[in-house]
Amino acid sequence: MKKYFTDIFSGIWNLLKGMKITGKVLVSPAVTECYPEKRDELQPKERFRAELTMPHNENNEHKCTACGICAMNCPNQTITVNKSKITDENGKSKIVLDQYLYDLGSCIFCGLCSRVCPQGAIEFTNNFEHAVYTRSKLIKQLNKPGSKKVEVAKPVAPAAKPASAPAQQEKEAAPKQENENNQ
């Protein structure tokens, strides 16, 4: 009999203690945020993988050599690298990138492509607002129209280099610097 009453009253007491917890939350501010209004404050963290991009420098140049290692490594066949063979003015044939197609819809954001890229030509950025109206818009071309591969300085010791072209040397050094920063 005694247990019957103590059970009831301790039960009610414990229920009230639970209500105290929710009551405390009721008067404390919400943890959720209004999304489009506070867009500027609510940026994802720097390393967040949201979209694959191919950075271009100010001369509309990228670092992709169209080797296709990224496409080979992608577990989901998300990347298509269309390339063609051209002959440049010196008569040397080389492979250039035509189209770097990235299907955002089938990307699983594992980061393998950017990790294996020997040139550091592709990287994941923070833009997470992917909503589009048709699925075909999710297939993105990453190389900008008219862009070309950046000419990287030949790995030659500076002393051995002819001193006749200092201006050119500077120009080549800039993208190299950028390359190091990216890594």
Partner: protein, 544 residues
């Protein structure tokens, strides 16, 4: 190791124990398996970790990983195979180890090996009318499987085979439910099955008479896909098995490959991996706690669990770049070092979480409605837990000490002091409440581990150089890890190529789901939901 070899010599006289393998291995003829298995069971090997089907090209076979609930560190491997590819049959061990029930159905589904005297030889993941057995190496992917399932009856009829006196195969079948049974479908779309699990429940009023889980609604054939992927490519798929302990699965796969390839991972990477594993476990248990509360009707508690889990997700996002799928471990270490304020963030979180747990106890553990619903419901004895192979918190709630972190320490777990959270075996009933409370206790223990690791983070690098194309030497490799739901295992059979020959993931969730039927019998509908929530299974882990 020597003791086990002696034991093996006793249970399987005349059989040679293979040299150079990770675990003591013996190969058996199909008709010897049952005798050896019985003797092993008598010798205390009562826990079947894993049963893997393998296509050896010239033969089809199975690999049994067996351990013991008393001699916890011991693992033995049995192998058997049959050369008959047309009508392959093997002998069942499902009456010796209950957990083999589902494993053998899986082997039948993937390889077409039928098990003699197995009571239920339905396909498990694929449809009943599927043509061919996809894990066979000669499987033709282009086949005439109809696009719509015309053979729904295959769910209801349990085929089985048995041998007559002359050794001929006799086919039998029986019905799952009687004609007068009130069978209700819980799922595949149901709020409380935690995913697309299909439970067919036979009811008598409010009382559950029988539960028949039907798998495969989220079967993606990950193991089959792995056979055509390189090792780094498999990594993102491991996270998608049990998405709530993704980091741990990935860690386990990395360890397996590293062990096989002989890659030594720097200490710092191992510590950080362990911190991430434990954070994942905390996050998973918080979600498990919240989902359990929500399944019992307390939606607010669920939101509180999610609120605190969000802090872990933020840590993942900041360091690894992903939230649910951090993709942090890679073969040879980590993708990047942690951010400079990592240690501060983690220790802040640990302090915050300890306060939150107290709040959870006040809000939910103390609630008489909640305790009334959890106490004395869904008893799982230690023996049943071992037989079913329900590892992890569920098994430990029944008093079965099975923490892989303790019994086969990996990464940095041998460098920290922690207790295996175990419900007291004397007073323990192994009911829903034990399974509930053990998760919150484990969160506290995980916070202890995180604190120790976080305070002693070594300063060597976070990864070592691995070859661009990882190739494993020929052989079989097995790695166990303690995921948030139990004993997660990775079995890799390599033939020396850049792709694995066969990959099998030991799913802790499949055995958890198989525990539903024995646990729910005689309980009420509401208890079915509570028990399901207390087992805390994740369907993609079971379906793979």
């Amino acid at each position: 190791m020597e003791d086990i070899k002696k034991l093996l010599a006793k249970v399987a006289p005349g059989k040679e124990v293979a040299e150079g393998t990770q675990y003591p291995t013996i190969e058996l003829e199909p008709n010897e398996v049952r005798a050896v298995a019985k003797k092993l069971k008598e010798a205390g090997f009562d826990y079947l970790i894993n049963l893997t089907g393998v296509d050896y090209t010239d033969a089809l076979g199975t690999v049994y990983h067996i351990s013991s609930s008393t001699n916890k560190t011991a693992v033995v491997v049995l192998k058997t195979k049959t050369a008959d590819r047309e009508e392959p049959v093997l002998y069942t061990v499902s009456d010796i180890w209950k957990s083999a029930d589902l494993y053998e159905r899986e082997v039948y589904d993937f390889f077409g090996i039928r098990f003699i005297d197995h009571p239920d030889m339905r396909r498990i993941f694929l449809r009943g009318d599927w043509k061919g057995f996809p894990f066979r190496k000669d499987y033709n992917e282009v086949n005439d499987t109809p696009t719509t399932n015309v053979n729904i009856d295959s769910l209801e009829t349990l085929p089985s085979i048995t041998l007559d006196k002359e050794g001929k195969i006799i086919e039998k079948s029986k019905q799952l439910f009687g004609n007068n049974e009130y069978v209700v479908n819980f799922g595949p779309q149901h709020p409380a099955t935690h995913g697309v699990l299909h439970l067919r429940v036979s009811l008598d009023g409010e009382i559950v008479k029988k539960v028949d889980p039907n798998f495969g609604y989220i079967h993606r054939g990950i193991e089959k896909m792995c056979e055509s992927l390189t090792y780094p490519q498999i990594l993102p798929y491991t996270e998608r098995l049990d998405y709530l302990s993704g980091s741990i699965n990935r860690h386990a796969f990395c360890m397996c490959v590293e062990k096989a390839a002989g890659i030594e991972v720097p200490q710092r990477a191992q510590y950080i991996r362990c911190i991430f594993d434990e954070l994942t476990r905390v996050a998973s248990h918080l979600l498990g706690w919240g989902c359990m509360a929500m399944d019992m009707g307390a939606i607010t508690a669920f939101i509180y669990g999610m609120r605190d889990r969000e802090k872990i997700m933020d840590i993942f996002e900041e360091n690894a770049g992903g939230r649910l799928m951090p993709a942090y471990s890679i073969i040879g270490g980590l993708t990047k070092d942690v951010v400079p304020n990592f240690q501060q963030t983690v220790s802040d979180f640990v302090a915050y979480m300890r306060e939150s747990i107290k709040e959870y106890h006040t809000l939910f553990t103390g609630n008489p409605i909640a305790t009334g619903r959890m106490h004395n419901v869904g008893w799982l004895t230690k023996e049943t837990a071992v037989a079913l192979g329900t590892t992890g918190p569920t098994g430990r709630a029944s008093g079965w000490s099975n923490d892989v972190r303790k019994l086969a320490p990996y990464a940095a777990y041998d460098k920290v002091k922690f207790n295996e959270v175990l419900r007291n075996t004397d007073t323990c009933k192994g009911d829903s409440f034990d399974r509930y409370i053990i998760r919150l206790d484990e969160v506290l223990e995980s916070l202890n581990i995180i604190e120790q690791l976080n305070d002693n983070l070594p300063t060597d690098g976070v990864n070592v150089k691995v070859p661009a194309i990882v190739k494993l030497p020929e052989g079989e490799y097995y790695q166990r890890a303690e995921s948030a739901r139990g004993d997660f295992g990775v079995y890799i059979k390599s033939d020396g190529n850049k792709n694995p020959y066969r990959v099998k993931f030991r799913s802790p969730c499949m055995t958890l789901i198989s525990a539903l039927d024995p646990l729910c019998k005689g309980e009420k509908i509401a208890d079915l939901i509570t028990i399901g929530a207390s087992l805390d299974y994740v369907i993609p882990c079971a379906d793979r």
